[in-house]
């Protein structure tokens, strides 16, 4: 039969040393939880204030979230800085391997793959028009890529995808 401790008149398996140690660990755990909430509020664990990126390129202004969650849709927006008769957006193929493209607005005219780049051609768009891409992250960790409006230089995009 297992031994039962006695405390006063009580047969009880109490252990104040264990309880004290556990309370200390619990306090550390609470702080860790508060820290997690704080990081979440700041946008370091997902979309939010510190996660939001606004990158100005030559022909494009790109807005996206740096911190993403796996399998959770995110929006990448590219605003044209000039009128374009036949705008062509190029994206690194490696970048798109990390995402599933859920939708592109406005509807592209044509999509091709050339020299390791996705080329997405649109009908004429005027200055200020926004191309929206709804992407679903498919891999965790750092994801890097670039986005360009031909023939302008590319804008670098960096994400970190949480599992």
């Amino acid at each position: 039969m297992a031994e039962v401790k006695r405390h006063g008149d009580l047969d009880i398996d109490t252990d104040s040393k264990h309880s004290e140690l556990q309370w200390k660990i619990q306090h550390v755990g609470w702080w860790a939880m508060f820290l997690l909430i704080l990081l979440g509020l700041l946008g370091l664990l997902g979309p939010g204030f510190l996660s939001h990126r606004n990158v100005q390129g030559t022909g494009l202004k790109v807005q996206y979230e740096h911190f993403l969650h796996l399998d959770t849709p995110t929006l990448l927006e590219a605003e044209l800085q000039q009128d374009a008769e036949h705008p062509v957006l190029t994206l690194a193929q490696d970048y798109l391997k990390a995402f599933e493209i859920q939708s592109i607005q406005p509807e592209p005219e044509k999509m091709t793959i050339q020299d390791g780049k996705y080329r997405v051609a649109f009908h004429a768009l005027s200055r200020g028009a926004t191309i929206q891409m709804k992407l679903i992250p498919q891999q965790t960790g750092r994801v890097e890529g670039d986005l360009a409006l031909e023939p302008d230089p590319a804008v670098e995009i960096r994400h970190f995808v949480y599992p």
Binding site: H7, G8, D9, L10, I12, D13, T14, D15, H18, S19, E20, Q22, W23, I25, Q26, G29, W30, A32, M33, D71
Partner: protein
Amino acid sequence: MEPILHGAILYFSLMLIFRVAGKRSLAQTTTFDFVLLLIISETVDNYFMKQDYSYVGVLSLVVTLIGLDILLSKVKQKSPLLERWMDDVPVILIDQGKVLDAHLKKSRIDLSDILEAARTSQGIERLDQIKYAILERSGTISVVPKEQA
């Protein structure tokens, strides 16, 4: 394989969170705690199942959760140390009629909680009628009354 891995990861993550939160957090379930539990279950469900709502997916997940529970209960039987860390130990709140304030504070319990337990379980009217009050591993408070003279 995914439901099994997800099941195992979440089982241990939730166990850690609830142990850190302390036994008082959800043991005395109020109406709001109940709603909170439902929300937690719904949130966890989203992660658990992803897009796999197949019979085999659900079955492997449920079996993983229950299997881990059985396995850990067996391991706990063999290791008292592990049992302490997983299930905690009882905490004495009133010892021979003396209120242990430090234990009450650290366990996030006040006298009214003890008096409530004393009234409901023993029909005790006053604090000085309590000999022992113990915060049990389950989070409930048990009360031993003083013997009548």
